[in-house]
Structures are given as structure tokens and as C-alpha cells.
Symmetry: D3
Subunit: 141 residues, 6 copies
């Protein structure tokens, strides 16, 4: 049996503001620059979710329909067309940098994938724009 | 002499909320759906600015350096990393749909291009996402 | 009031075979080459649907939600994950070249848009691959 | 000497149907959904072939011309404009999921690369669409 | 019968230098900036060639195989992996701006298309980079 | 604390010629093919620079503004709109294949990143075109 990684790509549109309440306004501006704009700004985020596993007799690592359903029903509605600082319970109190969003999405998605073991989440890749992206491979990486 | 169109593509990240103050909250939700989320959401907008003119002896319709400078110095700073409902004077009182943003950007850019006549702005194409874009060819179109 | 064009981009995956039953097998192979392969082949088609109209007080030419619903509910299910020679009633008896698919989709979509007059369908752009696309602007073009 | 990975990207258009002859029609529909459509459907597959090796005095890991020739002459003609269930000997009896196609292409390409040792195939990445892709790093991964 | 436009997209890699021999070195630097670098620079040009015509009984405006052959055999070899200032007879004495290259390619391609009348070349779109492109619709536009 | 990789994508346009002065002209043509064209050719290179580190209290692995400044001020001006064989001191005497450019850029960028330890450069990915790219993970990989 062969180990293969499958990736589903989704998009969501959201706004955010980088601001650390432990810092002064001047410190925030110095640290986050234009991303500290009080009214926030936004992105079309492109999310790549990668799951690894053995290829079953079906020819599939995991039924892509199941992965699509998890993302479409459980994950994307929590962030799409939302303000990441205000509208997302699992980001509450977290500065919504791309790094932190990726880690938070890992936790959300990993929990949903538990019934699909031994398939396992192996990578979250999050593009904030065509020019910036982050990759997270989990807490043990 | 040949007429050629040249296009410069730029990106900006901004947030917006679709909301018409003349309508009730229910009417706004019915009309704009998730785009009416009170805290707004955002996009990476991709802006295509097209200028037409005769090709001069330089081989150029217009010096692309000039078009890039207009956009980088006069236009993009007004919208990049901004909230389009709150931070942009030329969008004040305008519902920031892609259609309205394109028309407003046409007006801003056309004024800046006046010194470059007889080159003329002929098209603004604004992508709100990979799946949605609008095109505006000016008030006489 | 300003005329603006709005475009929605959708994708569908389908298979097809180029074969003219009025021609011999040799003539078909000479005309259509590898696209005449008896078992067919397939593409991820990218469909751009462009609607033009005046911008209403809502800031919209047409509610994008309506256009998305027409495509998602009435158009895409007829062609996505289908064999265009066998599974699509409105392509029955039509050789499914990109040109003919674009014309047929125009007819399907224009009928659905009738309730949205005076908005009007102005362009169907259909990408068969990254390297090939066709554009159709209606019977009067 | 430095180890570098070089990747060549190619495209092919093919049709397929996901169907397991060991299952009933109902089971197949439940398992594969719209991908079980009896007449099949198709994709523009994007194939990324990655070879790793030491950079030689030529400045190259492997002459890209050789890799291009292997793909253009030995690999792509077997799958481009084909029906993957019916037209491809090395997929005979294999359910043509993206996972299985990637593994089968690995085997085909690795054999062709044998004369280029110590360069070695290290990754096959196969995009079925803009939203779905798989990665395979060989039987020992 | 319906008029449809078909477009073929090709790429070529070339170098060029923007320099007008009628101007001084200082004037050239002022006019062309970094594009006047004496040793030149280069691009992956993306060329879109659009042909319009009536859809024939074959379902095709023009056999795409013919258009591909014209470009692959007659046009691309003249510019791909070339220096546009030195290696291309039809650009001799022409400052190779994107505008001038598009016009010159129009002339080359239009001549090759003559046997395919009444199909006619209607647009050359030439991308110099992801951010800059030009469009030319012929001498009568 | 979590390890995350952040990537910045930049583009530069440059020309180059593949030619080994230790070989005869015939040997060079046999080895490098059209890339040996005496007048050179060019590309729009797409450069992905990946830095790994722990996510700090700021929510960032490294301030992206710093990485952007390093690339915009110290790296891109050395290669953008240049001839890689003649204009770039750190490529002097090096055959500018994509492999060698990636290694040389690694060395330039790693030195600039030294003040940002313990963040570390982990990958340089360099696209020479849509179809060819190389990846380098450093001398210890």
C-alpha cells in the first residue's frame, strides 16, 4: 500500500486587523505598519488542506467528498465573509496573522478529521495574497 | 501610426461592507446576504487599468513608468489596506460594490491621466476574487 | 447611470469527443485528430458569463447572488461531471467543440436571465484549457 | 556539491470514470458520487515531475531537455486525449483516481529515468483541477 | 451561422533592450529607465492570438490544429529563446517595446492566416509579465 | 510555541545565456541547446523565499516587512532587469542555470537573514517559467 497526500483548495474572503492590546498604539503601528489600520483591511485567503494516508481499495486515501463536506459545512462558514478579529469564536483573543490563522484552522480541521483515522492532517497552507503564504505541519513539526 | 491598448495590473487588499443606510437591517440582509455582515469582510482586489493611444516614436503608447507612478503614488495608497466604507474620501457615501469601486477608480485615474492626453483611459477591470470581476469603459459607454 | 459589465467565473469537468457522423472514420480522424479518439477525453472547462446593465441604487448591475444561483442550479448541473456527447439534452446532435458549447450555453443562460431584463447577457467566454478559449457575443454580433 | 530538485510541469486532457467492478451499481454511486457517471467526465490534469540530484559542472541536476523528451515522447502520449479507463495499458484494471494515476505515472517515469542515475524521481504532483491535487513520493515514503 | 472568436495562448522566452539610437545615452536612460540596461533583460512573454469567424459545419471557426501549426512552426521559432534586438529579422530597426512586438507579430501572423479567409485575425494580446500587457486589434482599429 | 514557515513571492525579469567557457561551441550547443543562443534570452523569474521559525507573541515568525525590505532593497535590485551573465557580481563565473541562481540567491539571502536568528532560511524555489522550477533547501540538505 502506498502513502499519498491529497489536498483540497478552498477560498474565503475575510477582513482582519493586526493589533496587540498589550502594546500602545504607537508600538502597534511600529510593529504591524499598515496592517494596524484601525478599520482593518481584508484578503481572499486561499486555503490548502493536505491529508496523508494509505491508498485504500477504492483508490482513494480518503473520500474527497468527505473532506469537501467538512470544509464546506464546518470550517468555511466560520471564516468566510467574516471579520477575523470579531466574528470567529476560535480566533477570540488571537492576533489574526496568517501564522495564527493557519494554526487555528489546523486545530479545527484536525478535530473534524478524527473519525477518518488513520488518515491524518499533515499540512495547512494559507495564502494571504499571491505574494504571501504560510505553511504549518502541526505541533510536533 | 497604430492604436494600441496598454494595461497595468495592480493589487490591493481592503475590507468593505455592503449596506444601504436607506434600507432596514432586514432589507439589507435580504439584498446583500453575507456581504452585509456588520463587521465587514475583505478581498485582494486585482485592478487592471487600460490606456489606449497611438504608438509614439519611442515605441510606447505612454511611458509605463508614468502609469505605474500614478497608480503607486496617487491611487493605491488611498485603497490598499483600507476599509472602503470608512477610510476612502472618494468612496464616501457610496456603497462599495465592485461596480461602484470601479466607477470611482475610473474617475480618480482619469483625472491623473489628463496630462497624458491624447492617451485616454478606456477600461477599468476590477477582480474582487478569482470568480467575480467587473469592467467599466467610462460614462459614454 | 453607468453601464458596467459583471462577470461570474465557474468551472466544470466534462468529457467529449469530436466526431461528425456525416463523415467517414478516416475523414473524422483527419479533421479532428486526437480529439476524435473513440473513447473521448476531457477538460476542466472555465466558463466566464458576462452580464451588462446600468448600476442600480443598490450599487449592483444585477444581484450576483441571482447570477450565481442560475449557474449553480440551472446550468452547471447539466454539464459538470458529464459526457457532453451523451448526457446533455441541449447538446444533443451538436458536435461539442468549444465554439458550439459556448453558443449552446449562451442560449441556456440567456433564457434564465430573461426575468432580469434590462440586464442582458453580453459575452460567454469558455476556456477548454489554459491554452485555448473561445468568446461568443450572441447571435447579433 | 549541492542537492537541488528540478520540476517539469506538463498538462494532459483525459476522461475517466470512477467505478469498482467488485461493487454493485448502488455501492459505486454511494462511494464515488458524480464521478461514477456511466459516461465518464474529464479533466485537464497538471503533472509536476520532480527529480533530485547533485548540481553537476554544467550547472544542471539533469539536462531538462532529457526530462522534457521523456515526458513528451514516452509519457504524455499514453494519457493525453485518452480515456484513462480504456486507452492506457498501464492503468488497465486500476481505478483511475488521482491517487492511482499518480502512482502509475511514478512507475512509468521512474523506469525512464533509470539511465539518469544517480538523479532520482522524488515527487509526482498531480492536479485534477484547480481545487484538488495529490502528491506521491514513492513506495518507500 | 454564428461568429465566434477563438484564442490560442503561447509562451516564449526572450531578451530585449529598450534603446533608441537617435537619442543620447542620457536621453535613453531618462526615457526607458532600467529597461535601457546595456546588457538587456528578459521576459516570458505570453501571447494570445485571437481569430474570428463563422462556425462551420465542423463546429469550428478554424481548425485549431492549423492555428497551432502556424504558431509553432512559423512564429514561435523566430522569437523563442532569442534576443529581440538582434536575432529577429522582422524586428530589425524596431525598438522592441511590447507595443511594437505586438504590431510586428500581428503582421507576421496575419500573413500566415491569409489562406484561412474569411477567418480573420482580430486581436493580439501580449503579456510582458503578470503585471503588464498590451492589446492590438490591427491597423484599422 | 509552533514552528511555521512563511514565504514571500517576488518576481524579477532578467536575461541569461547558458554557456560553459571550458567547452567548445559545438559542445555548448549540444549541451544547452537553444539556451546557448549567443545573444541570450530571458525570463520573468518567480522567486519564493521561505523562512521557518517559532511564532512569537506578535503572532509572526518574522516581521514580513523585514523580509520584504531585504528582498526589495538588497536582493531584487541586483538581478531585476539585468543580464545574469554580465551584471551580477555574485554570479560572476557561474553558469546561470536555474539551479545555480537558486544556490547563489540562497547565499545572498541567508547572509541578510543572519540578524533574524533563530529564524532560518529553509527553501528557495525559483520558477524560470510556468513549466520549470527548482527548489533548494541549503547546503546541508
Amino acid at each position: 500500500m502506498h502513502t499519498v497526500e491529497i489536498t483540497r483548495v478552498e477560498e474565503f474572503s475575510a477582513s482582519h486587523r493586526l493589533h496587540d492590546p498589550r502594546l500602545s498604539d504607537d508600538e502597534n503601528r511600529a510593529l504591524y505598519g499598515i496592517c494596524n489600520n484601525p478599520n482593518g483591511h481584508g484578503h481572499n485567503y486561499e486555503l490548502h488542506v493536505t491529508v496523508a494516508g494509505k491508498v485504500a481499495e477504492s483508490g482513494m486515501v480518503m473520500n474527497l467528498t468527505d473532506l469537501m463536506a467538512i470544509l464546506a459545512e464546518r470550517v468555511l462558514p466560520t471564516v468566510d465573509h467574516k471579520h477575523l478579529n470579531h466574528d470567529v469564536p476560535f480566533l477570540d483573543g488571537i492576533i489574526p496573522t496568517a501564522e495564527n490563522i493557519a494554526i487555528a484552522l489546523w486545530n479545527e480541521i484536525e478535530r473534524e478529521l478524527a473519525p477518518h483515522e488513520p488518515c491524518r492532517l499533515v499540512r495547512i497552507k494559507l495564502h494571504e495574497s499571491r505574494s504571501n503564504y504560510v505553511e504549518y505541519r502541526g505541533p510536533s513539526s
